[in-house]
């Protein structure tokens, strides 16, 4: 006999169907500004998220997979937003969201794993850098305490590095006894690796008390806000989403994914309350997908995609793009949206402006191996 409830648990409880590997990682700092990085693992299809409906190549290449501009939200004379992104559209209308299109990391091949490695470590090629750029960013903040604090079962590569970050995800198991906790602490004390993880886990459990968190997108958005709004709490968070690799059946799958992400972002915004004014969220993926639909109702691995910037301080309501076009001869290697903006420049610029750091210095510290790109600034108030 299979119980529905136990199945839901098994499936990660992602009732809203956004495949959130509940990877939220937070870092404490002496600042009231917040920065949230959301990674879309699997190569999200930028062309069907922020749709270049006015480009004649779009309908031709996408065929039945093209988003109907009449159903989508018009963003300007060139672009429209996927119809599932209702809350995001509302933020755009209020000037709290913008998109940077035709953007890509320095990585130009089409392996998810290498692409994510470049996106997260900030190197110019895979496995060149050992640590994550977000960990280097944490190191640049004025620190509230020696131990930075974190949350999620495991720490994603973007946050790995010399600065200790913690991880937290809601658990359904009963808590250990005090005696067991004390003795475990004693056993781990002389072991650097275990001690660091253990003390971080203890700190995070304290912070999470009473949040009653679950793992659906709305709960995760709210939980992230709970951490980010604690006095002396973490000021940097990372969320991992999966399920963007739409080789087939893209229409339904992408809509479901986007609805989940839309719900998460709205819950985060609502949970932040007045602090939303000092919060910036950046959403990015390792690379985009082919400009043309493939033979199986989906798209294959491509190059440039779209990044999202949302928050109370964003100079939003616009799509930032040096649009390369989808015509013959305009595609990268004859198949992908060509990159015209650098994702690392965007990450450096937004991270710096959202945390009130010097953009050029941030670019040098975060992306030295990528040649310290000129940060993209002017996106925040």
């Amino acid at each position: 006999m299979l119980h529905r409830r136990s199945f839901l648990h098994l499936a990660g409880g992602a009732a809203g169907s956004l495949l959130v590997a509940p990877g939220m990682v937070l870092a404490a700092a002496e600042t009231e500004r917040r920065f949230v990085f959301v990674i879309q693992r699997g190569a999200a299809d930028g062309l069907n998220i922020v749709v270049p409906y006015a480009d004649p190549g779009y309908a031709r290449l996408r065929g039945a997979l093209a988003i109907d501009p009449a159903a989508a939200t018009r963003l300007d004379g060139t672009f429209a937003l996927h119809p599932a992104l209702k809350e995001t559209a509302a933020m755009y209308a209020r000037g709290q969201a913008l998109f940077v299109h035709a953007v890509a990391s320095p990585y130009r091949d089409r392996s998810h794993f290498d692409g994510q490695n470049v996106l997260e470590t900030g190197g110019s090629q895979p496995y060149q850098a050992r640590d994550g750029w977000l960990n280097r960013l944490v190191a640049m903040l004025p620190r509230a305490s020696d131990a930075a604090i974190a949350i999620a079962p495991t720490v994603p590569p973007a946050l790995r590095g010399p600065v200790q970050v913690t991880s937290y995800a809601p658990s359904g198991l009963p808590g250990p006894t005090d005696d067991l906790m004390t003795r475990v602490g004693a056993l781990y004390a002389p072991d650097r690796q275990l001690q660091a993880a253990w003390s971080a886990a203890l700190d995070t459990r304290k912070l999470a008390q009473g949040s009653g968190a679950r793992q659906d997108p709305a709960s995760l958005g709210k939980l992230t806000a709970t951490f980010l709004t604690k006095p002396h709490g973490p000021r940097i968070a990372m969320l991992e989403t999966e399920g963007w690799d739409t080789h087939s059946g893209q229409d339904g799958r992408l809509a479901t994914q986007l609805r989940g992400l839309d719900t998460l972002l709205a819950a985060l915004r609502d949970g932040m309350g007045p602090a939303w004014a000092q919060t910036t969220v950046l959403v990015a993926t390792e690379f985009g997908r082919t400009a043309a639909a493939n033979g199986t109702g989906g798209t294959d691995h491509g190059t440039a995609s779209v990044a999202w910037v949302l928050g109370g301080g964003v100079k939003g309501g616009r799509v930032v793009a040096d649009w390369p076009g989808l015509g013959n001869g305009q595609l990268y290697e004859g198949r992908d949206l060509a990159p015209t903006s650098q994702l690392d420049a965007l990450l450096a610029g937004v991270a710096a402006e959202s945390l009130a750091l010097d953009p050029a210095q941030v670019a040098r510290r975060l992306f030295p191996l990528a040649g310290a790109p000129r940060p993209m600034t002017g996106l925040l108030v």
Partner: protein, 497 residues
Amino acid sequence: MVSEQPLSPAAIALNRFGLGATPDTASAAALADPHGWLIAQFDHFDVTPPAWAALADARALLSAYQEQQRALRQARAAAPPPAPVTAATTPLPAGPVMAATVPMAGKPARTPEQKQARRDLGEDIHALYRQGVQARAQSALETQAPFVERLVHFWSNHFCVSVDNLPVTALAASFERDAIRPHVLGRFEEMLLAVERHPAMLLYLNQNQSIGPNSPAALRARAKGGADRQRGLNENLAREIMELHTLGVRSGYSQADVTEFARALTGWTVGGINDDAPGDFAFHPQQHEPGTRTIVGKTYAQSGVDQARAVLVDLAHAPATASHVATKLARHFAGDVPPQALVDRLADAFARSRGDLPTVYRALVASPEPWEPRSLKAKTPWEWTISSLRALGVGDVGTLQVATITQQLGQPVWKPGSPAGWDDTAASWIAPDALMRRVEFAQRLAAPRAAQIDARQRAPQVLPGALSAATAEQIAHAESPASALALMLVSPDFLRR
């Protein structure tokens, strides 16, 4: 890392090569002759133990799934136009595995009977998945060849599928039982061919939908003016075979090689209801892209199913494949940063034996690097769960819900979420929340067993010549037998291998 008790060869054989020591006499052989105990297991491996043999037939279930999908399509096509249903207002079927089947605007709604039928099928499939996980755990608990069982888990992760949709969920256990287990002591080439022909892999990486753009089927569809039919090439399987299963990423092949290989693979699919073997591997010549292919500098003029087969055989024997496999094996047994000397030795054994896996395993056991007398690896949640149960003397998985346990610990079986499989480094598994959950779960496992097991005696049994003084001390002074037993399971000595 603190200085710890140097590990005895027996402890290394049992815990690093094997799945963890048990309190019974099976460990005695390992104590007497650790090397010999490992090699002798090649003669004791049971390919299909009773728990695996008893699994329901996934292909029958898949056929039922195909049949039902067809019936649903027909019923919906015949239905009168209903009230408009939009994706936003339709309640989702439970769980992300159904995400691909969200009804879109404009299609007829399902009747309550149809919805119930879909739910029933989904529950059957998930029950089968859970039964498969139980079988995997049961054979890991009762095996006389724990080193070989570990290698099954290794290869299953190397060639992984991920249960992200219903058909793959139905077939994941069959994939490990029928494509991995029979070949774990065979040749790499045979395992590769079995893996790439298995319906779970063909469905997981969309190969069943890939059709040659100039194949007879595509030409026919075009002649009929069926431009709206979405039929064509899908490169997913071809790419992951080269990147993950054989050559390894950045080993010299190009995007053009991937596309050519995808063309060669067209026609490889899963048999439908009208095929000879529904739900099994099938080759559909009418979907195969005609012509000669050039892949990594070599020309393949074969026709039909033999073309991609020839490519796979060449990939199995490519030097890059030997090096890729050797690196992963060395990382699994000798540390997150695998020693280059060991990698070279294993790659050499692989190449010289033409991919004979026992020859490679013998080279591994005969090498000094995996016998380094300090902990080299952090246990994954799966390894930790199985070794904990073995240490507690649990011989029968019984009602323990292993699928749920591994999910809670962060590593749901057969669901790595990506064709790269689970990462095999400590950085992925020694994380704050993951550690806390192990402590919670250790307490839950220990509580009902503490009356029968004295942790002060059990700890030196399962960590023979490997128990640190600090762990022995904390166990001896714990406030309760249950605390002591839980401490044994979460001690640094036991969290690593």
